[in-house]
């Protein structure tokens, strides 16, 4: 019996003024699985996630459970999206940011599936947070309202080692216990080995490797990239 496909992307194409953002990208992710989307900077990972999240116009189709995802609000109710670049007003507090997005989703902010202590004191001003801590807030926002599909654009790029470990545990828990489907982009997808059910590699807007974690084909982990991000955010 074939696996039920939760998320399907068909011939997704996005052209920017400077060239291809994505060129006839197609893949599918079965329900309750995590797909790693690997590739170097500028390879089109973020573009693909933005297209799926409905943030940029594109050609091709995105389907969730067989239904076409269009730009209607209902299509986004089931998705949680974490952008690669996280920006927030300096003078807002963590609690206000989360309450804003909870209200927009009609979600209960007290049910975010993150371990206690993952976020700093909710009354803390965003302006006093480091890049990594702001990323944690954005992660919490992406998890509001129990989305069944998660689109995570380099979710641990700014996190320290403990934060990464915690986040991977959370993602594993969401998949195993709640059946969440996720696409996780990373320039170093090797760190998703053992967690992701499948890996896809991109380059120049195209899928160049759809069996990333098969022997001999995977992209080698490059921790230096993430270490650099952590240093920059600190």
């Amino acid at each position: 019996m074939p696996e039920a496909m939760r998320l399907e992307v068909r011939n997704l194409t996005k052209v920017y003024e400077g060239g291809w953002g994505a060129h006839e990208v197609s893949f599918s992710v079965p329900a309750g699985q995590i797909m790693a989307l690997g590739g170097p900077n500028g390879s089109g990972k973020s573009t693909v996630l933005k297209c799926v999240a409905g943030l940029v116009r594109h050609e091709g189709a995105v389907l969730v459970d067989g239904d076409l995802v269009d730009r209607a609000p209902a299509s986004r109710a089931m998705m949680g999206y974490l952008p690669q670049v996280v920006g927030m007003p300096e003078h807002a507090t963590i609690a206000e940011m989360i309450q804003l997005f909870a209200d927009l989703r009609g979600a209960d902010p007290s049910t975010i599936p993150l371990p206690a202590g993952f976020l700093r004191d909710p009354s803390t001003d965003i302006g006093t947070l480091s890049g990594g801590q702001r990323h944690r807030v954005a992660l919490a926002i992406a998890l509001l309202g129990d989305p069944s599909v998660l689109l995570l654009d380099e979710p641990v790029a700014s996190l320290d080692e403990a934060g990464r470990a915690t986040f991977w545990d959370v993602l594993r828990h969401l998949r195993d216990e709640r059946g969440v489907t996720a696409i996780v982009s990373s320039p170093a997808p090797g760190e998703l080995r053992g967690l992701a059910d499948r890996g896809v590699g991109m380059e120049d807007g195209r899928i160049t490797d759809d069996e990333l974690f098969e022997a001999g084909l995977h992209v080698a982990p490059s921790p230096s990239v993430d270490q650099k991000s952590e240093e920059e955010s600190a």
């Binding site: 943030l55 986004r76 670049v85 920006g87 997005f101 927009l104 009609g106 975010i112």
Partner: protein, 290 residues
């Protein structure tokens, strides 16, 4: 897994707040907290008091009574400053949120982008109205000692015109912001537009008038294409300074449509200048890549 708690947020029961209200409240709070609006409220309040006191001194020296001259001075303040503030506030809104990264996060939620634009417009308009209320409130306190019952229409008309042009300016600014690629581009466009509306249109018309016969349609169009001119004429209609202060366009409107007709036309004009740019922004944002 023990869940992270968000103490400052309203936990337990999901709140069913309309997205429009949520975004409007967020924008209002942000603009007030950014202190920009508070600083402008302070400047506007001080200027209002100063021009009022100066006008009163002149009035007393001339042995006259009433608040007409003070209102006339406030009219220019009420046209120029709120329109500039509205344009700048609006110009920084959509493109600012996009550059900051909040707009893509909002647009990824189950909310229409047209609702996001409208919410931003509503929140910014409310914050600008707060600024104006503080400024005018200070001036009214000063005026309250000499104002008489028959001055009330002048004050009400001035407030209505100023709040109207402020709302229209925010709407135009939001449309500029939605169409711009960068915040700097939007702000430059807003300042350029304000200079054109505050000075450029009048100068151009003055230059053209001797050589071009504008006719009734031209005179009417000259007022309607410039929301600042519409606001100025509307504000002056409430004072006893009509005559020459109205200028040729205002005089033409009064002669042709009467006071009530002119007021209706000018209010409708400010409404169109509010609705049209907002509709453009609501149409445009869903078509932009974020």
């Amino acid at each position: 897994m023990s869940a992270q708690t968000i103490d400052g947020a309203v936990a337990g029961i999901p709140r069913r707040v309309s997205p429009l209200r949520t975004i409007a409240r967020w924008e209002y709070r942000n603009s007030v907290r950014a202190r920009w609006v508070l600083v402008m409220a302070g400047i506007f309040g001080v200027l209002s008091i100063v021009v009022t006191l100066l006008a009163f001194r002149t009035v007393r020296e001339l042995g006259l009574a009433g608040i007409g001259p003070a209102s006339a001075t406030l009219v220019n303040l009420g046209v120029l400053l709120p329109s500039l503030m509205g344009l700048l506030l609006g110009a920084g809104s959509v493109v600012g949120a996009r550059e900051q990264g909040v707009l893509p996060m909002m647009a990824a939620q189950p909310v229409r982008r047209s609702t996001i634009v409208t919410g931003m417009f509503a929140g910014l308009t409310a914050s600008l109205w707060t600024t104006l209320a503080v400024g005018f409130g200070a001036a009214l306190l000063v005026m309250s000692g000499v104002a008489k019952g028959n001055d009330v229409p002048a004050i009400v008309t001035l407030l209505a015109a100023t709040f109207g042009v402020a709302m229209a300016s925010v709407s135009i600014g939001v449309a500029l912001s939605t169409a711009s690629r960068t915040r700097a581009q939007a702000v430059a466009g807003a300042v350029g537009l304000w200079i054109m509306l505050a000075l450029g249109v009048d100068l151009a018309l003055a230059a053209l008038a001797p050589s071009v016969h504008m006719g009734p349609g031209g005179l009417l169009a000259a007022v309607l294409v410039n929301p600042l001119e519409a606001c100025r004429i509307l504000a002056l209609l409430g004072t006893d300074l009509r005559g020459a202060a109205l200028g040729p366009f205002g005089a033409y409107l009064i002669t042709t449509f009467g006071v009530a007709g002119t007021i209706a036309i000018l209010i409708a004009d400010l409404f169109v200048w509010t609705a049209a740019p907002l509709l453009v922004a609501r149409w445009l944002l869903p078509r932009r890549d974020l």
